[in-house]
């Protein structure tokens, strides 16, 4: 227990990095996922095919592999560099990997939301003369988003847990910090584990409650 209190600043710092990783990835994945979903329902076969191939490939690849590819493949072999500081560079590369992976799930969530919008909505929009993009932007996507708030909450919770996999390329977020604290305080493995587990509960449970409440509040009345 004393180890836990003694290392509290380190632990909070690690969780702060987890939160920043989550937020940066969430924004990037939401944008990329929405674009992919629009591509998957677009009139152009080339866009549909590319988006479908992307989503199927990323959803069936382990996230660890994606992050290793970004960290070691892009970072070490191809010399992609965002910062002179090595640790900042790996942070950005892990955000890229997490975003590419999460976007595939966001795309599938939004596409399932598009399927819940009654056909009459899009038909009425077409009858008014709206083009495909106008139809998506003004009629279909606003309703689709409201239908998938709960699933997007599940994606976000999965993302919070998935940020731990950035440990594979040495980003010192919560899980890697926990591992090094295990090594420093062998006598206090159980309290440290429970402390970190509590930290993740504090992050994930409120997100679940918030999105459940939002989903109810923003549901489309039909």
């Amino acid at each position: 227990m004393s180890a836990l209190l003694e290392e509290l600043p380190v632990i909070l710092g690690a969780f702060w990095l987890t939160v920043r990783l989550t937020l940066a990835t969430a924004v990037a994945a939401l944008v990329l996922g929405t674009v992919l979903a629009a591509m998957r329902v677009s009139p152009l076969a080339v866009l549909r095919t590319v988006a479908a191939a992307y989503v199927n490939a990323l959803r069936n690849t382990p996230l660890t592999l994606v992050i290793v590819f970004c960290g070691l493949g892009l970072g070490l072999v191809l010399d992609v560099s965002f910062s002179d500081s090595l640790s900042t560079n790996y942070l950005w590369l892990s955000i890229i990997g997490l975003s590419l992976y999460t976007a595939a799930f966001v795309c599938e969530a939004i596409r399932s939301g598009i399927n819940t919008v009654p056909i009459g909505q899009a038909e009425a929009a077409r009858a008014l003369g709206l083009t495909f993009l106008q139809n998506l932007r003004h009629i279909v996507l606003p309703q689709a988003f409201r239908a998938v708030i709960a699933p997007l909450g599940s994606v976000l919770i999965a993302l919070i847990k998935n940020t731990t996999i950035a440990a594979a390329i040495g980003v010192a977020e919560a899980s890697l910090t926990m591992k090094s604290l295990f090594e420093q305080h062998q006598e206090a493995v159980v309290p440290i584990f429970l402390g970190f587990a509590l930290g993740f509960l504090v992050l994930t449970l409120p997100v679940g409650l918030l999105f459940g409440w939002l989903a109810k509040r923003l549901a489309v009345a039909r």
Binding site: L44, A45, G73, T131, S154, A168, M178, F193
Partner: protein, 288 residues
Amino acid sequence: MRASVLYDAPGPRGRRRNLVLTVVFAVVLVVLAYLAFRKFDEKGQFDAALWEPFLRADVWINLILPGLWNTLSAAATAALIAVPFGFVFGIARLSEQAWIRLPAAAVVEFFRAIPLLIMIFFAQYGGSAVFGLTVTSFSAVVFGLVMYNGSVLAEIVRAGISSLPRGQTEAALAIGLRKSQAMRLILLPQAVTVMMPAIVSQLVVLLKDTALGFIVAYEDLLNAGARILPANFRNLIPSVIVMAIIYILINVAVGLVAGWLEKRSRRSRKTTAKPVAPPDSMTVAAAP
């Protein structure tokens, strides 16, 4: 909603415009692919020497297949323990006895809420620190996979049994079956049908998660692709790409089984209940 509902069937002008846009986007994609190709080529990633190992039988037999075998054996071991775990805890959560129901609920919710990786780390370090055991990376990975996926499976089992019409239990009890008999003879056979697709999808997740073993130096497929092969041939990018293709092929195959099971259980006459969605589903069901 079918995609074609979102836009009018193109007329002559629309077809022309779509053709132009198709060409434009195709060119953009080709340019992007070319830029990636240039970048790879600059670093010599298309050197035949980097790809040639994948044409050699000894590389597959000595380096890749043992990794694949370890991945599959960790996945199979974890699945064989996680499925019974899921049934026990899923049924326990439906118990009428609070002293069974509440602890089961606590276990399931706890392990679903925390990341798999910290469980694997805990198994590794906790096993030796608390019990004085040497925990191999295999056991640590299997432990984490069982606790996490077992808890998710428990939720699937609970959802599957709860999705059955209440009349099934009532009729079973009315003809004099005990509660355990009703569960075993009436509810479970029907529930298995409705939850089979969700269970198989969860097993795909489990298989993908075995790659976490890479982080604790378990010698799995990803370890073969990202550590062993690059150490021998300095071909990290080609070898990670080949491993990704192997993972995708395996997962697509298991996914096809899940799709087939779902179709089968939709037209099954064993039960009137529809297949259940996995908990925390990341999609919503379409409007009827």
